[in-house]
Symmetry: C2
Subunit: 134 residues, 2 copies
């Protein structure tokens, strides 16, 4: 329930559509905006899906996964440990990889470049066992 408290604290209202999107993302995996819209059977507008995802991302409740095919997917991350993704280039399946090997790198890069690092995205691409057979 920490998600709703976060939304309120930021001055946003808890509305029906927002709860729908939250619940949908919470129960699932890594969805595109359209998948969320269709998964909810158009009980809300696609516009609202986009707007809600924008807010949830801004608040850190949801994270964006940008794939090299140009698609964007959204994942509910509250209560999850930071992790990375393994994407099958055959079927599109996405696995979560526990742990993160990048923290040290972030610090090193921060020192070298004088950037203030706010985060990172790491995706591995490959073929899942099933797609290897095809």
């Amino acid at each position: 329930m920490k998600d709703k408290a976060t939304i309120k604290k930021a001055g946003y209202k808890i509305t029906g559509p927002r709860q729908l999107v939250l619940d949908f993302l919470k129960s699932g995996e890594h969805y595109t905006a359209k998948e969320i819209y269709e998964g909810l059977e158009k009980t809300l507008g696609l516009t609202t899906v986009y707007r809600t995802l924008e807010i949830l991302t801004e608040l850190g409740i949801v994270e964006t996964i940008a794939l090299t095919d140009g698609s964007l997917r959204y994942e509910y991350v509250l209560g999850k440990k930071h992790h990375h993704h393994l994407v099958c280039t055959g079927c599109g399946d996405i696995c979560e990889l526990d742990g993160c090997a990048i923290k040290d790198l972030e610090e090193k890069v921060a020192k070298q470049t004088a950037y203030v690092i706010s985060g990172h995205a790491l995706e591995l691409y490959g073929l899942c066992p099933r797609c290897q057979k095809k």
Copy 2:
């Protein structure tokens, strides 16, 4: 010149538009399809830019960088060492980071998941020194 040999060997023709796109990418950094189209002052069709990028990516001459704002950028990589990117969330500036800390991770994940890993994408996000002041 290895790029043209690669294109030929794959059965594609060396055309004017393809050379324009290659030269544009080779002399520069990380461009979107539209930036390439406009950088070349519309001496070729945008359609052709997309088609050319698709081929160049397929042949490994160019790589795609997917950013979390949903944009795709293309980078000429022949002769470059594999590297990662540091993206300023303020001004969009992209630095290249030498070296790669992910090779070990790839092997570990391959063993754990039975995927055949084909590659990965790692982008760090942060604020560049100039944007920190704003």
